[in-house]
Point group: C2
Chain length 285, copies 2
């Protein structure tokens, strides 16, 4: 998904909101906002929105001196989500279609995203998870995903955010784990997952976890490591979680299953769904 | 009022919204937004917000080739407001305090402002005018204004927007017109008034009308003509209408009466009132 003009004011708002979340220092806020403005004024709009998010959060790190300002938020939501595991497992098992239930929960978990909002609490997550079981998917390619999982020799699962990763783990447990590799970001950015999160929620004990070699809130192949790109190219099936992965890979020229909650009007327009909708979309086939 | 960090995303949003109002050409939209981003990245934040509005609308004119894209909107609201004159005069005359009623109507007319919104209709204006008679002013210096009008040897009345100017005329009629000069912008910008509007609503037949020599959505003294600055400095009493005049003159070092509707959260915070409130404020005394 390319940058839409409507993304541009939102970049500036996100830069300001994130800078304020990280520090009370108004000098930092101003320097971050000015850097965001310069980046946005120069970025080619055929790039994806996370190209700008990458530079905004680099600016926040450099100007504030905080390398992982979302560390506490990530710990908090990993811990909260881990506490929900027994109840979620029960609901999945009790469902008439446990695979579909696990997929729905994983998509719903995508609400735990601090890219656009600075405030989100446990009640918001509970609401989203409850909805997952009864709200219709705006795009529902679950059966195509089920078939693809059965036939794929290798599956690459691109993770998204802390907290959310716990629900991904519940889905990954239902995949043929001997054929699955999970991927995290190459370093901390917003509340996106790194290897630390995969370890904290026990995912590294289930499937191999690689990182993509880049610190973007998405998967910008041009910035990823050669090793990651090789894994991406070689995978029979790619499952990509979340908005940042959709934005960066929806035009990647390879079939990808996106499990995504459409959290802003621009991506909703791009997908052709309502804002807030949850979707399982095969794209690029 | 200086530029607040919260003004910055709004600048970008306004640039995009205004560019879209003026033309369907997406190339123009992109060039305008990029110019707005560059201007905002460089402007010193101790300047006032209309310094940026001035450059954004210059960009829109230059990129679209339309020198007065709001001409039709201005004509429409001048015509609409002129149609309300008999009823408004009646309400003023019937009021227990006709001066206060005329002031309130003039402030309420400040809703006709296309700086922040691209859509406003006659029903919005009617609602605001009705409210003017019963909603309390958030800051009420009407009695100080009344006393200042009585004692001032010369009064400079800084006009703001088309349509709104009709309600200013109703107030100006109640001032000692032989001591009043009204001022318009030096050229078309957004729906701000120029000499054409003053003529269209019959104001030029009542008081002398000067222009400030600049095309800003406010009164940026540093950009105004020497003649205007001399008139500003010499006036015993300055009455300034609207948000742009407040933003550019609230720290001008001269007592000014601002008749303003607080149309965004930033000016509301600066004034210390709720968003949407109507205020008559003496400041800088």
């Amino acid at each position: 998904m390319h940058i839409y003009l409507d993304c541009v004011p939102c970049f500036v708002e996100q830069a300001l909101g994130a800078a304020r979340m990280v520090t009370d220092d108004e000098g930092v806020h101003e320097r971050v906002v000015r850097r965001a403005l310069r980046v946005a004024s120069e970025v080619p709009f055929d790039r994806s929105p996370p190209e700008v998010g990458r530079e905004i959060h680099r600016a926040i790190r450099e100007e504030s001196g905080a390398d992982d300002p979302y560390a506490e938020v990530k710990r908090r939501f990993n811990g909260f989500a881990l506490g929900l595991v027994p109840a979620c497992r029960e609901r999945i098992e009790a469902s008439a279609d446990p695979f579909a239930a696990a997929v729905r929960l994983a998509v719903a978990g995508n609400i735990i995203d601090f890219g656009r909002v600075q405030h989100l609490d446990e009640a918001d997550v509970n609401t989203a998870l409850d909805e997952a079981f009864h709200v219709p998917l705006a795009v529902d390619h679950i059966d195509r995903l089920r078939a693809a999982v059965e036939s794929a020799g290798s599956i690459l699962y691109l993770l998204d955010n802390a907290g959310e990763i716990v629900f991904d783990r519940l889905l990954i447990e239902r995949l043929p784990t001997d054929r699955v590799t999970a991927a995290v970001r190459g370093g901390p950015i917003i509340n996106d997952v790194t290897r630390d999160d995969a370890e904290a929620v026990g995912l590294t004990g289930i499937v191999p976890v690689i990182d993509n070699g880049d610190r973007s809130p998405g998967t910008i192949l041009a910035h990823c490591s050669d090793a990651f790109r090789a894994a991406f190219d070689a995978a029979d099936l790619v499952i990509a979680k979340g908005q940042g992965n959709y934005e960066t890979l929806s035009d990647a020229g390879k079939a990808v299953f996106f499990l995504v909650k459409a959290k802003c009007p621009v991506i909703a327009t791009d997908i052709g769904c309502d804002e807030g909708a949850i979707c399982v979309i095969e794209k690029g086939a």
